[in-house]
Assembly symmetry: D2
Homo-oligomer: 401 residues x 4
């Protein structure tokens, strides 16, 4: 039935795919339907309106694309840019690296601004580049809001300020895969032109929807963008939006109902409360890491991520061993260190539909594994630090107060 | 959709109903079927064989009755006894109290042997009664294996020894509701005549099956037992067993498939490993309680229960407030103190398909609540104690080693 | 995974358990919960109010008992009657026979009024008995509203008229297992004292809830009824109703959420529309039977049942063979002939959450099987007759008009 | 809960998405998992082996891409061809039209070979083109195996014969979206270089997997193909295949388990039996259409499709009205006529996990709707014709015989 059984719940603390809430599982537990019946367009119309709320946009146009985050990236790039276009892109970890690789393979001319892994995007260099670019050769700034590999959150408000300061018309393309619906993300206020996320992240759905939102300026750019695209072409969507049938090709009925349920849960809790919950989770995790005497891969507080924490282990420990034992022994899934930080960090994802006691169980498990691999952790110390914080920062569950 | 929503998983630590594993939920996610088709009898035949394994009986005859534990009690009593029959029954907590109440309302003549709540059955008095009962007026000994209200486990081997010592023919009826499939229970070895459990306990199913197992001696007794019964009459089952159609009335198709999946999981883990897991859970919980400076309601180690721990709170704290806040704030369900121990104890159920990190999350939550209600707990202390033990007692997950 | 696989849907046309609608399956696809949390009593309160609507009672008190129809019968009898009490009970088929057997085993003094199977309850004899019973020795009239074995619906309004005419105070106990929520049933108007159904019938849920509704007069009777009962005792429920915690023992969380969803569906369609749909289904089925040249087991139109049709086969055919082949070949489940009509009838259940095209698929399947077992049916004839009727009696789907 | 409720089952007879079998729904009813755990690669390895069986290939390399059929097309084209490459593509209906549109937008040089809608691919013209193409400028033949819009099945064996006859090295790219796993498809025998399908078609899963299978020659071609691609690049998959982790980006855990269950069902029934079942369904449907006095959109028997039948309606009837009423009144989903045949045909999909009685219910429903829109159909006539055929062609359900 299952490939590998273990008793009790799987403790899923990778930074995506994340835990699916029971009401969402229920909503998706259904047969296929004809997506050309009156029911599905009616539902889609509401979904498109509601999905804009999690991007904090009223001007944007959302696309629910049957793809993953990688496809959503491709949709953002190919609809707005032409081969040879110059982009500025920040390399700060494995996922920004992969996006840059995609940009290069799509034949854009990428200015790669690299930082040490564990640091945020170097916005000073961005400022320099913008200042120097009098002829506006830079067509787009591509930046991850939150680098999932290192647990680094970039400051998008500053990016917008720089663009405004230099009156630079470059498009602002943001990978919000591990941020939107968990961190404070403000598409309209920050003048983001394309923002995107994946269903399996903070929305707490299965993988399968790349959710992309385009500003009016991005839509305008799509009219002249010469990148070859068909499956990812926004224009096909826009044609069916006008027809009121919404879908250029077959959507997953189950994911539509799942998205409906996921948004309902988020609105019931309140998007502000959801974000505050992630803030608590992030802070509690970092306090535990500190209590263990370990270092956060993220080098400065300004970049701390409230959705994922990458924990540096001492040189005499292989972080992959921690991940392996967590899974084998405690049915817990932690994130591996990737590429440059392979073996050096393990990651605790704390995003999505998650609560305090789930996290504390995870932290207790990490302590036992740390001890097991030879790190002299004081058992209970991380949990104690997290509890001390959490106990004074009471969760807000509107329906229960 | 739900009556009261909270983010993340509900932490279900009442001593039943307990968490249902995902494979079991999946198995039950199905339409009704005709229970007279060839499929259901074929399945039932195997279920009846396999269910005997969790009772550790080869001689017993199991009945899967569409009822609860209360109905299972009634089935055990009415099929083996006649009105006016003398029983010896031990009052050690709310559930033994309720069973005694049932025995009295069914017109048996009950010798109630009461202990202070927190103590086990007084087997000295049993010995006296057996010694004195030369004419064998005692028809049955009724005893709970594990009293769910106080977390007390009785020693059934001793009961059997006493019966054998005095060569007393009384039937031995055992409520194994919160023990079977979690604690070491040996129907044949201990000469238990009727043992029973409910599907929502250690089997980790929904409520709805009262599972009763009768020894040959109990079946023999049922032929002359004069208690009025129809719905609970074993004879109707036996008739259909012979016919090979198995069901005198409509079973729940979903629970049959669920039971199949639940047994498969138990056998995959290994019944011995399942019981060892409960032993670890019980010990870890008690170590935490001790670290908090609180007392176990169970007064002596010999009675400690590995499926539920009732924790005594100081007089200045209302234990019901702990249960209430756990639910409101942390989406955690703890057990209330019942009847004589209302307000004085709260209960942590640690039975069923549960693992270490789930329990540690619960313990961390209890610590925060204890502090919140004014008890001077050292945050992290209970988790530390539990982790220190668990870290040296590695779980046995056969498929992952 | 399944015991016997066949491609496509199982065509479930036994008269219970019936098809569960997808929204109900979804609602039940959930983990256990603590039934003492604030959520479950809040939900139960609403359920108890709403369940009264399907009985058409405002004065009645409902009980949701974790049992089957057989248990619901026992609840109705033992709470209202004392051993030795005289009842009048109508034997018209296998299920009324079983109920009478139960009454006798519970030590009531049963006047059995037998009819030929295929006929309704003989109310002339009831009239005679009531007329003769000046001293009111008859304590209860026990009658099935719809005999599931023969497809016979009794006229309850007439029973009430007779009781009123003779000013007889006997209780009126009604088995509504295969009628309530499908046929027009009016508890208050007909002065029914106890009515009952099972969750797996017209409510279209899994087996597991015996739903019993008691009039004020029945509740009054329960105070002096001397039948021994514990599990089925209404008094235990009433005690917890007063406390506001509602449950004397553990309910199935899944069935509560399922019942909520089932009632929501019924109210969305409209109870009147639900009943009208059953009327159409019954009529269409009977027209098909007529077109096949076969006879309805039910001998007169006044008794025709709109929830189940028992079809008589010619003497040279074994009706069990029809049922067997339907299942093996077409994944269709039909009802066997039981007891006196074994081998002579097969039954088509057409109750619960079912629509026209499902039924027509069944009728087409029956035609092919009939031909296969050697009956000279004209293929398509039954479907044609049913379609001709249905095509002029358009279903009422409020949300789609 | 649902957008538009109707009682009973939805009768889903669009040619995709199709009915999902219950065991598959169950398998997918699960939380997310870490796709980097040991479990998922182990499972993926087996899936890739098993999926080759439904393509009847041993030499091919399969890719399970998180996309739809449209994306699968794009994957087939961009991995094997370079901009400017000449393709021969057959326009015979809406889906071949859309594929040709994609080929043109991807900058291939497409020889469009158009047939009247209702006819198959004109292979005489293919022969001419191949004969004339001495310099092998044709790089690929692109052909749909089954045109879903018109119910036309092309003869792929003949295409292969022509290519062999003219010793032409062009790649053979086949859209098997509405054929693979339902019609007889032989990748290796017919020398197909890329074949593809979508999960929501004959595999009877939700939408979300584009399943593409490449021959060694296609893989070789992919090394020099210059079409820009990232998301759809086979090379990223091959890299992870070598690593044994299999996934370049996040797969849908649910669809993997669903695919596992779907393949298990197909192998349990037997792929040959599955195809034979589709043959029966197609034939039965066409006999009904003939009995109604209506014409099949497909003009010759050699092109008849066993997965979808497009039915021509008389000029005085709008076929869209049939589709609309079927849904509103009988909860049945039929396929609309698309583009050139809009208003002129409605489509009955009869593919996937479907059985005889489901189809017969659909046919009965179509009859009632036809009468309702004013077509003088003889009610029951189509069902009678279908039954007469089916009754002599007994379904093969291995587990039930």
């Amino acid at each position: 039935m299952d490939y590998v059984y273990g008793p009790g719940k799987n403790h899923l603390f990778v930074p995506g795919p994340v835990n699916i809430p029971e009401p969402v599982l229920r909503a998706m537990n259904r047969n296929n339907e004809d997506y050309r019946s009156p029911a599905i367009p009616a539902m889609t119309k509401n979904l498109l309106e509601d999905v804009k709320k999690i991007f904090k946009t009223s001007a944007g146009t959302p696309f629910l694309i049957p793809t993953t985050g990688t496809g959503a990236w491709e949709s953002a790039l190919t609809n707005t840019l032409s081969p040879g276009d110059r982009t500025v892109s920040f390399l700060i970890g494995q996922f920004s690296l992969l996006w840059i690789d995609q940009q290069q393979r799509l034949n854009f001319n990428v200015d790669v601004v690299e930082s040490e892994w564990g640091q945020g995007a170097n916005l000073d260099i961005l400022a320099e580049k913008l200042a120097a670019d009098h002829s506006h050769t830079i067509k787009a700034i591509c930046i991850v809001h939150n680098e999932t590999a290192t647990g680094v959150t970039n400051n998008l408000a500053t990016v917008r300020k720089l663009l405004d300061h230099y009156r630079h018309p470059a498009l602002l393309l943001v990978d919000g895969v591990s941020s939107i619906c968990a961190l404070d993300f403000r598409m309209d206020e920050w003048g983001v032109d394309v923002a995107l996320t994946g269903s399996q992240k903070a929305l707490s759905l299965p993988t399968g929807l790349g959710i992309v939102c385009a500003s009016p300026k991005a839509l305008e750019a799509s009219k002249s963008a010469k990148s070859v695209r068909v499956f990812f072409d926004w224009n096909d969507y826009l044609k069916f939006y006008k027809l009121g049938t919404f879908w250029p090709y077959t959507p997953s009925i189950q994911l539509l109902y799942g998205l409906r349920a996921a948004l309902d849960l988020i609105f019931e809790e309140g998007l502000g409360n959801v974000i505050a919950r992630h803030t608590r989770m992030g802070k509690a995790t970092r306090l535990a890491v500190e209590a263990w005497g370990l270092k956060n891969c993220t080098q400065k507080e300004e970049w701390y991520s409230d959705t994922v924490t990458a924990v540096l282990v001492p040189p005499y420990i292989d972080s992959a061993e921690i991940v392996k034992r967590a899974w084998k022994r405690y049915n817990m899934s932690l994130g591996l260190g990737l590429n440059k930080v392979a073996g050096k960090v393990f990651r605790i994802g704390h995003l999505g539909n998650l609560n305090e006691l789930q996290l504390l169980g995870c932290l207790a498990g990490v302590e036992m594994i740390l001890k097991d691999v030879g790190y002299p952790v004081k058992l209970g110390s991380g949990v104690a630090a997290a509890c001390a914080y959490l106990q004074n920062n009471i969760p807000m569950i509107p329906s229960r107060i």
